[in-house]
Symmetry: C2
Subunit: 179 residues, 2 copies
Amino acid sequence: MSHRDKLSYIILGLLKTEPLSGYDLKKKFESEVGEFWQANTGQIYPSLRVLLNDQAVTFDVHIVGEKLEKKTYQITPKGIELFNEWLKHPVDRYPIQKDEFMLRLYFLDDKNEENLQKLIEEESIVHQKKLEYLIKRQKDLFGEDEKNKKSGHYLVLDFAIQRETFKKEWLDSLLKDLK
Amino acid sequence: MSHRDKLSYIILGLLKTEPLSGYDLKKKFESEVGEFWQANTGQIYPSLRVLLNDQAVTFDVHIVGEKLEKKTYQITPKGIELFNEWLKHPVDRYPIQKDEFMLRLYFLDDKNEENLQKLIEEESIVHQKKLEYLIKRQKDLFGEDEKNKKSGHYLVLDFAIQRETFKKEWLDSLLKDLK
DNA sequence: ATTTCCATGTAAGGAGTTACATGATTTG
DNA sequence: CAAATCATGTAACTCCTTACATGGAAAT
């Protein structure tokens, strides 16, 4: 009851808004929540089975087309309770954010200047590209629509954009210092 | 030869500067590189054994006090080659940064205002505390010493500080918007 | 008609954490 | 002399990724 992995809670959270299939969940992890959590079928289907077993979710089978079976999972009252319990509890521990780029920076420092500059430039481009992608997504999803600006979805996208902007600026500033 | 986990490369990188024991490595992962990568004995000792087996490192035994045996590992030319190879290769993939707080924000949005505000305030305090800790470390380690400002160690600490500052500001600004 | 997407799942293995076990040395 | 730290290691477990297997439906 008490010890349950985070993925289960996230699945419950997603099901709280709308019924979803395993495949739908996978899509969610590629888009909406994908900036902050990811999971694929290797985790999703086994996790759904556990939740089903614990009566935190149920499912209906829908036929798509002629015979393709789609299992649409719904959250149960027990599932809602579990989810709310998790949401109430404070975030217990902060695992560090592993960052391979920062490690390379740590190892390279000023002994190896050409490589250093190239490393930083490449990293800056990566964040630039990601930023462009995120801004496009924000525009597509929300446009000028002011009334949605407080939604969770908007907030997480906004944070991702600010985060990428920050990192790119830090990199570009470092690059300027090196020259 | 080619397929090797990142931890191995990081250990090699750390050994490139100075010989270290397993215990020393553990300490490094708690301090210097700890903001961007962590590992404990459950990974370090097995990893050292693999590196030893592949002749990427060797070790000497030193006696501390009367009989406590300390194995000091050194990097070999083969180890240096492996490490340099890794450093040259571009960072291949960017695993997302999992963030439980952002997920909660996504789930809470504006339906649950009291909880939302509390969640953000608590998160802000966490980053404030971390910031204070990092600034103290920076001061202790570098002080007003300008000549070290380009070292890898200084850079990663600076980035960590800027990152925490950014996140705290984003949170505080969100909190202001909510009121 | 072929490619892409929808849809459900499993198996194997790698990465990482937690807990334990043992003992020496240093510090207060 | 007790507590904290130094020091090496293993076992069990969880989490997560990768790759595979199968097949239907929709789009071009």
